[in-house]
Symmetry: D2
Subunit: 149 residues, 4 copies
């Protein structure tokens, strides 16, 4: 894996504050976990209020946590005064999203000046056992904090 | 656009019943709109509880409605005894998702025996004006109702 | 469809000259067809030297023509002094790529200052009949001619 | 990484024979390298006849080798009597594809009965140094050898 040095040493604080402003995360019940250079984890317990018609976690909710994990992974490597937005992502849903809890892990693969490419995955846990339920490949963009996109 | 003939004439009832079981839709505030062969619309009013850190609709919530619109568009063309699951999708977020309300439109491009390819879009409305905020290209799979995937 | 006004009135000449420098196109036998604001066509006759193991056009060759069609569609709307590069694309292969000839059509969906989102398709022709064999959703980037990326 | 056991012990022979029938590979100058359960490498020397307008390897050619690497990685795990086809893939082009030679590596992430999800990458080599130039996430399908898709 590549080694990264965040240009803003306070990246973790900045990300936790940003995450607290993502009301969608509160609504679905997600919390932010580990944050390190180029990698962010998001945790989500299973709950009846975020499922599709078969009782699996809705694919869009799976996407919501792994998109944020990838976006914040990219954000760990952006300088002060930056915002991060998702340009696009692709998600494969590999197994029905069933389990007690889910962990989304976003990792930076290539950090450019403007665009950052990330890889993400979502694991479903039942007790100590985990299963890969989704795989994401995403492109994130850095925009200037003051300039609206 | 291709013309489609649903193998199950009661496809609309079946889809409305399935949609009512998607608790994620109630949680975010989405309702199902138009349903016709190979095309389904989902409506979502803007709300403070489904945003990301900048006050835009979270990209994962944008994905949630257009994934369901595409999945149900595919489902209009599946025979009785089928379930539909998302295999994978790719979403481009083209403009910040800001507006009074959003409409996701899913359309079938190619319906195969097992796999269906769909195209989806999300429009943001402010009064009568609309703007394209997201574009999806998705693969859906038909699975037998009795067999767990 | 959106209406576009190219900032460089000589966009067609500029694109034909650029296409002539794509040696990969000569190698596979592709030629450029219609060029208009936000839309470019590329033609490819079937040939034994560009197939996969079953005698279908190789998915990578299908991608080659529709990537160039999308890239040049984006390029029609870029100012003088720009180069265009593919950031990423996603392709669905919907039917085996068999036919006498193929046409790739790239269209701009949203042209931004830096990024352009395109939609592409590849049609296979047998006599007068055509079939959709591939669908692309792509992100292109404008880079300054002088600055190497 | 997951451990895989190929159901057909002669998978390597079967893949080398199939690769020899991919005329597109001869045309671009690619050869097949390492083949092991769930992983296949394809080698391509740089050549003037497979470039785009800036002298980089054409994104479609980059895709051609990594699509075949992923398809054959999936094929290592398919039983006798199967064919493999690409359902869809997404590719990020992360750096200009410049170098003396390129290696595409395809790996199986999840092998299902019908669908297999793969991850692929393309490395550009200049002497002993390598750089990641492309990342693929792909879905492959197993079809019965006798049944045309």
């Amino acid at each position: 894996m590549p080694q990264f040095t965040p240009p803003d040493p306070n990246y973790e604080t900045r990300i936790r504050e940003s995450f607290d402003q993502q009301s969608a995360m509160k609504t679905i019940g997600a919390t932010i976990g580990e944050i390190k250079p180029g990698e962010v984890h998001i945790n989500l317990p299973y709950s009846d209020h975020i499922t599709q018609q078969d009782g699996f976690l809705h694919a869009g909710i799976v996407t919501t946590i792994v998109d944020s994990a990838c976006g914040y992974a990219a954000y760990t490597l952006m300088p002060l005064g930056s915002r991060v937005l998702s340009v696009e992502f692709k998600v494969n849903l590999m197994s029905p999203a069933i389990g007690e809890r889910f962990v989304a892990i976003g990792k930076v693969i290539k950090a450019g000046r403007t665009l950052t490419v990330c890889s993400g995955e979502v694991l479903a846990f039942q007790g100590d056992e985990s299963k890969l339920v989704a795989l994401m490949q995403a492109t994130m963009i850095r925009v200037d904090e003051k300039i609206s996109s």
